[in-house]
């Protein structure tokens, strides 16, 4: 492709079509006119390539607006948008007439629900498929992550706004998006020409949209309240479905379409068939749930949420410094309790590494004991604020009898509507959960409460959440960090590491935003550090373990395994790629201090 001929942001479909027609023509010439597009089934003919290079190589990503609840009505349909979210439900495949013959030319319907040209009937056509995913903003997403990759500011967004607003833009003169569109003026490229073309099918969307629908604001905690959340129906092409997993967090870049007619119910359908073979998507009205035809997508990890990628090599010396500052901050937040701060750091850095049968390796759930209602209101609150500032997704759950009896923790498939009903425990990998058990008083649990506790316990012990599919249950693997604040050791939520919390002072501490940023970078980097180790250390560790067992016969597999986990995290917290005896000794010392406290 030589230079962007199209306004890829304003009229992505134009580019799609142009590439298709070019490819089809080429294929026709090659095959001698016999069904040239058959080869394009579940294949890209070069369209995504154009977008990929535009977005990632020419820095086009920043020009693409981010679709969210606030601008749902403002973004013009059939433009390029971005959406970051979690795959909440997989709605299966959808078949569509991917290509059809209009006279002598082949046209494509890829990346749109509507045929841009009215399809002649009858016509030659090909059925293609695409995958539907229902995506929601990530549950518990903390506000700082939203700033990490902002869309273009209003000036650039104007490009895609409704015609009235575009008038202003014209006067604005020189913005680069304009330049792009002017390059390809001969084609039906810029926004201004689009509406005419689509007049028949798509009435101006912004007029149609009542203002009230733009209301729901992104707000960390109420994603689980049904109805209030914003979601997006993403249609992904040319990919085996297994690439996307439930609860994956990803960024989808694609064409935002809005077909109000699809929303209109078939009121006078004389055909009972249409009602019965109902579509899941029928319950997702396009006015509330935008459709996104995905051109390019990528999975996101916590590193992707960092404001700017400091292209710094994670050198041990650098990491060590940040570690020290984070640790001292943690100590302050925890009322100068050094031991607790150390454990918390290890906890924050833990992640599930492998899973063998029922054994999970790498997790380190933490239970701070010695909290009561007062201390929770002081330290717990500070802790929560800090965790919110550090982790991309986090939630705090007040564990009370009432909560256990009423909350819906288990995601459940509603076979009537065909959708997965989300619940608290449908969480993306890497979520941090804090349970406040001080609220738990003696009392009876109803059967729902029992189910909920079983779920929580399962999550704690095997990092699995059981989803209810009515006729059977399905276990989904998760990787969630769990922190429990409780009065005594919690037996309902058995943590790996129990630390009696002994604060000595109460101090209000606030971290600067630079500090927070560096800590976030530190946590994300360290957690993704690869672990390798030399075989020599195996033997040393084994000897250490044997001698530890000799000294203390109560040590079992779980304790030793935890020690090793802690030692490995300690090693990576210093930026070391491999474990050394020194780290093992540090952990042993930590354990000794902890044991002292337990008595």
């Amino acid at each position: 492709m030589v230079g962007p001929q199209y306004d890829l942001v304003g009229n992505p479909l134009g580019a799609v079509r142009a590439t298709f027609e070019r490819a089809a023509a080429a294929a026709a010439a090659e095959s001698g006119g016999r069904d040239p597009v058959a080869a394009f089934r579940s294949k890209d003919w070069g369209a995504s390539e154009v977008f990929r290079s535009f977005l990632f190589e020419q820095g086009g990503l920043d020009k693409v607006p981010v679709l969210d609840a606030s601008n749902l009505g403002l973004i013009k349909p059939n433009t390029l948008v971005r959406f970051r979210g979690m795959v909440q439900d997989m709605l299966g495949n959808e078949f569509y007439a991917g290509a059809f013959k209009d006279g002598a030319t082949w046209r494509t319907n890829k990346f749109t629900d509507f045929s841009p040209f009215s399809m002649p009937h009858p016509c030659d056509s090909h059925l293609w498929e695409r995958h539907l995913f229902h995506c929601v903003p990530v549950p518990g997403q903390n506000s700082w992550t939203l700033d990490s990759s902002p869309g273009p500011d209003l000036r650039q967004m104007v490009n895609c706004l409704s015609p009235e607003q575009r008038e202003k833009r014209k006067r604005d003169g020189d913005d680069d998006a304009m330049d792009v569109s002017e390059n390809g003026n001969g084609e039906s490229s810029s926004c201004s020409k689009k509406p005419k073309e689509d007049d028949v099918q798509i009435p101006s969307s912004s007029a149609e949209m009542p203002a009230s629908e733009n209301m729901p604001q992104m707000n960390g905690n109420d994603h689980h309240i049904p109805g209030s959340s914003f979601s997006c129906l993403v249609k992904i092409y040319d990919m085996p479905e297994s690439q996307v997993k439930l609860n994956d967090v990803a960024e989808f870049i694609g064409v935002y379409t809005f077909d109000p007619e699809l929303a209109a119910p078939n009121d006078n359908s004389d055909d009972i068939m249409y009602d019965l073979i109902e579509d899941v998507t029928a319950q997702l009205p396009p006015s509330k749930v935008p459709r996104l035809h995905c051109l390019v997508w990528r999975k996101l990890s916590s590193v992707d949420f960092l404001a700017k990628h400091p292209a710094v090599e994670p050198l041990p010396s650098l990491l060590k410094g940040i570690r020290q500052s984070l640790l001292s901050h943690l100590t302050l937040v925890l009322g100068k309790d050094d031991l607790a701060a150390n454990c918390l750091l290890l906890h924050l850095l833990s992640r599930l590494r492998t899973r063998v049968d029922v054994v999970t390796v790498g997790r380190l759930s933490l239970n701070f004991t010695g909290f009561n209602r007062e201390s929770v209101s002081i330290f717990g609150k500070q802790l929560n604020t800090l965790i919110q500032g550090l982790m991309p997704y986090s939630q705090a759950i007040p564990l009370s009898i009432e909560y256990l009896n009423t909350a819906t923790l288990q995601p459940r498939k509603d076979n009537k509507s065909g959708r997965l009903v989300t619940a608290i425990l449908q969480l993306p990998q890497g979520t941090h959960l804090t349970f406040d058990e001080t609220l738990l008083q003696s009392g009876s649990l109803a059967s729902k409460g029992v189910e909920n506790t079983v779920l929580l316990k399962n999550l704690m012990e095997s990092q699995m959440v059981e989803y209810d599919f009515e006729y059977y249950k399905l276990e989904m693997a998760t990787d969630v960090q769990l922190l429990t604040l409780s009065e005594g050791k919690s037996n309902i939520l058995p943590s790996d590491l129990v630390v009696p919390f002994r604060p000595s002072t109460v101090s209000e501490v606030n971290a600067t935003s630079e500090e927070l940023e560096s800590w976030r970078w530190y946590l994300a980097t360290v957690r993704s550090l690869p672990q390798s180790s030399e075989p020599e250390i195996y033997q040393t560790i084994q000897d250490e373990m044997v001698s530890a067992m000799r000294n203390d016969r109560s040590l079992g597999c779980t304790e030793l395994s935890r020690w090793l986990t802690m030692a490995q995290i300690t090693a990576s917290s210093f930026g070391e790629k491999s474990l050394s005896l020194e780290h093992w000794q540090m952990v042993k010392e930590l354990e000794r201090l902890r044991k002292e406290r337990m008595q």
């Binding site: 009937h121 059925l127 249409y274």
Partner: protein, 846 residues
């Protein structure tokens, strides 16, 4: 009407006569087209109105009134989809019988069709209608089940399907002929291929051939017989259905999750004139639409817009839409199950209910979505569904289901044909034949925990379980095996429990600290001192027919423990609520583990003393294992190595010859469900012999007192254990070796738990009463020694003697070590005899 039919069916066809027409010959050979149309018609009303009604893409919205053949639209739409003659269906309403009768004479065999003028091809393919026709006829006439080959029977002379047809004719009941696709394949792979690729056409021909055949055999048979194909060579996974499967015959497995109510679908409408009361001829429904006559057809009336629908004269057919969902085993990790809609007709309606696992054979179809009823524009999106031809329940694949056989026998025998399930079962059976299956199972159980092989064997027995027996007298013998693990902390007892909990079909894992036996609810309790929260849950009811794993059994409250008495012997739980005493089933095996009361097991004390549990409860455990931490460097090293490898290396700890978890679970549930071993005579003999020997062992010639080494409870345990052992080999007979192994297991367990440490012999009294025979002997000795002393030293009514003095005396006299505590007990005995009177720290002779 009948004569009219042929002509009528042609007229809508005429637009099809164009260069691209798929069936140019249909018009040149009227009988052919009539037959085809007729076949379609017959299929239409009964099996798939959608065949005509909702042909792949053309929704009514797309119908162009201009009269351009609807057929052509469709054909071009999908490019390669064959033309289904749905148009003729609207007008052609020839009663099948009359038409069949007409054609009875000229045709003899499939060849008759072939001789007819030019060959007719299914549009867009090189499939000749005549060829297919002949092939089907050949198949129906001549297919012989290879399984029948050996038998000589005059009835067997006919082919399998001819017999089936005869049966239908005789019974007059069957309206469908089930055709095994495997048979078709065996007879004619080419026909099979065509049938799968062009099911609409081939099945239509199939129906015609079938009707011809029937008509020739029994001209008066009026019912429509439908071909139902099942058992395709390959079944497709629900999530792998893709556009290339559209309009093909597919076979998928899944679970019904939802069914719509039964919908009556209008097939033939009858109108009545409001003016003169004239009833119209039945009007066929075409694509969900019926054309209301504008004018009364009665010559004298001719009133316009006077016709009204007469509901009770119309003909309706049943229709239902069900949703089929993938079964859990087909869902990849991190995915959610896919669903597909399935359209059922007539007899298939309500053939399956939600929750059933079924295998469906049908035609995968797609239809486009109209935007509005009035609009011609069609969205580019299609809805897909399966037009069901055959449904088969495959409930047997649900291997881990409750023991009860709720499927009736006919069903069971039918579904046993299911190759997939049989495959699975065959594999399990193969496993069971391995000579080392017992060891293999032992290795597969908690492979991450070493040693403890005998404990694992016991646990295996628990998983397999013995036979529950209910005598006519009402007496119950439980088949569940209860196991108690006692041992030092850190000996992976809890892990074993966790593992068992995972394996058991309805396992419940609970901590003894918070278990009440009953109730589906739980109670959160808070320790007032430490603030630790504990959950008290009703574990036993929840684990009916499963294994109830109770950790920290020793910490269970007495209240809850007393409930266990009932559970472990009677297998019920009684609860009193609102004045009603309810007895709930709790047919559960109990697997408990307990820590010694003084953090570490004291080998000098008995089990009872080590874990303060009432002996009555203890005796209800079939096996009691002591797991002692033997401070063995070798084991420690292995553990350390294991942990290190878990963390560092790619944890491929896959040992060879170990069953993976799902297989193990399937193996156990199959055995539990289908294997009910019986004691063989030799085994019973061995059992008696061994038991007597065990009892004898107590009578050591050296010791004076008889030591009980086995009780009747043990013999029950032994039976259960040996039954479980036979089950492990899928053997219906308990053999001698099972009994021998059961004895060994029991002995190993007893050696650990019931050995009297003072004498080194096994003594069941230890468990039954908490006091070993030797201990009792010792106490008796002490009492008599004191009695002698008292008699000797003290005067009747004399001054009292202090306890300490006595202790000194006794110690002087006897070689045994005597504790003050023992002394007190002995004096208590004497007091009850009436020989002494104890008052505080002193006593006197009375």
């Amino acid at each position: 009407m009948a004569s009219n039919g042929g002509g009528n069916s042609n007229s809508p066809y005429s637009p099809d006569v164009r260069p691209s027409s798929p069936l140019p010959a249909t018009n040149s050979s009227p009988p052919q087209s009539a037959r085809r149309a007729g076949g379609r018609l017959r299929r239409g009303p009964t099996s798939s109105p959608s065949l005509g009604g909702f042909e792949t893409p053309p929704p009514p919205g797309r119908r162009i009134p201009s009269g351009a053949g609807a057929g052509r639209q469709r054909q071009n739409w999908t490019g390669r989809f064959p033309p289904t003659p749905s148009t003729p269906m609207s007008t052609d309403d020839v009663p099948p019988s009359s038409e069949a009768g007409e054609e009875d004479t000229p045709e003899t065999d499939g060849g008759g069709v072939g001789a007819d003028a030019t060959p007719v091809f299914v549009w867009g393919t090189n499939i000749s209608v005549q060829d297919v026709n002949a092939a089907i006829l050949r198949f129906l006439r001549h297919f012989r089940d290879p399984r029948d080959a050996g038998r000589v029977d005059p009835v067997m002379d006919e082919g399998k399907y001819m017999r089936a047809i005869h049966r239908i004719l005789e019974l007059e009941g069957g309206e469908s002929l089930d055709v095994d696709a495997h048979d078709v394949f065996d007879h004619d792979p080419d026909l099979y291929g065509k049938m799968v690729r062009y099911p609409l056409e081939v099945l239509a021909i199939f129906d015609i051939v079938l009707m011809d055949l029937v008509a020739r055999m029994e001209p008066l048979f009026e019912k429509h017989i439908q071909t139902r194909i099942y058992n395709l060579k390959s079944s497709i996974c629900l999530r792998n259905l893709n556009p290339s499967d559209i309009e093909k015959m597919v076979s998928i497995k899944g679970m019904i999750i939802r069914g719509s109510s039964v919908i009556p679908e209008l097939k033939e409408a009858v109108f009545r004139c409001l003016v003169c009361g004239f009833y119209s001829e039945p009007v066929m429904v075409d694509r969900g639409r019926v054309t209301e006559p504008h004018i009364c057809q009665k010559e004298q009336c001719k009133a316009s817009n006077s016709m009204t629908l007469v509901h009770n004269r119309c003909r309706f057919a049943d229709k239902q839409i069900i949703k089929l969902q993938e079964t859990p085993d087909e869902i990849p990790e991190g995915g959610t199950p896919h669903t597909v809609s399935v359209l059922m007709h007539d007899k298939l309606v309500d053939a399956g209910k939600p929750g059933d696992r079924v295998e469906i054979t049908g035609i995968y179809r797609a239809m486009s979505i109209r935007i509005g009823p009035s609009q011609r524009t069609v969205k580019s999106i299609f809805k897909t569904y399966i037009d069901c031809l055959h449904i088969k329940k495959t409930d047997k694949s649900r291997l881990h289901i409750e023991d009860s056989m709720d499927t009736d026998n006919t069903n069971a025998s039918k579904s046993s044909e299911d190759s997939h399930v049989t495959d699975k079962i065959d594999k399990l059976k193969e496993l069971s034949k391995l000579p080392d299956i017992y060891d293999r199972l032992t290795r597969s159980l908690a492979p991450n925990i070493w040693e403890l092989d005998d404990v694992k064997r016991g646990l295996l027995c628990q998983l397999f379980g013995g036979n529950a027996l209910r005598l006519p007298s009402g007496a119950n013998f439980r088949g569940d095996i209860n196991i108690l693990l006692v041992g030092d902390p850190g000996t992976s007892k809890s892990q074993l429990l966790q593992y068992m909990h995972k394996l058991s079909p309805r396992g419940i894992y609970t901590s003894g600290r918070g278990s009440s036996a009953v109730g589906l609810t739980a109670y959160v309790a808070k320790d007032p001192e430490t603030g630790e929260t504990v959950l008290e849950s009703g574990a036993l009811v929840l684990s009916d027919k499963g294994v109830c794993c109770i950790d920290e059994f020793d910490k269970m409250s007495d209240n809850a423990r007393s409930m266990l008495h009932e559970v472990m012997e009677q297998q019920t739980v009684s609860i009193a609520k609102a004045g009603i005493i309810a007895s709930l089933n709790a047919r559960t095996s109990v697997l408990a583990c307990a820590n010694p009361s003084e953090s570490r097991y004291n080998p000098r004390l008995s089990v009872i003393d080590n874990i303060h549990l009432p002996p009555t409860l203890l005796s209800r455990f079939d096996l009691i294992y002591l797991i002692l931490d033997k401070a063995d460097e070798q084991t420690d090293r292995r553990l350390a190595k294991h942990i290190v490898s878990l963390h560092f290396e790619n944890p491929e700890v896959v040992e060879h010859q170990v069953l993976d978890l799902p297989t193990l679970v399937a193996y156990i549930s199959y055995a539990r469900k289908f294997i009910q071993p019986k004691l063989s005579d030799e085994a019973a003999e061995e059992l008696t012999r061994g038991y007597v020997e065990m009892r004898k062992r107590g009578n050591n010639p050296g010791s004076r007192k008889k030591v009980i080494t086995a009780t009747a409870r043990q013999i029950e345990s032994l039976i259960r254990l040996s039954e479980a052992l036979a089950r492990m080999r899928f053997s219906e007979v308990v053999g001698v070796r099972d009994v021998a192994e059961a004895f060994r297991l029991l002995e190993v367990a007893m050696q650990q738990s019931a050995t009297d440490h003072a004498t080194g012999t096994i003594d069941m009294d230890l468990i039954m009463t908490g006091v070993s025979a030797s201990e009792r002997q010792r106490r008796d000795n002490l009492v008599s020694a004191i009695r002698d002393l008292v008699m000797e030293k003290m005067q009747l009514g004399g001054p009292s003697m202090r306890m300490a003095e006595l202790l000194e005396e006794v110690r002087k006299q006897s070689s045994m070590e005597v504790h003050q505590h023992d002394l007190r007990v002995a004096l208590g005995t004497l007091q009850s005899e009436g020989s002494v009177f104890v008052h505080g720290d002193s006593f006197k002779r009375t």
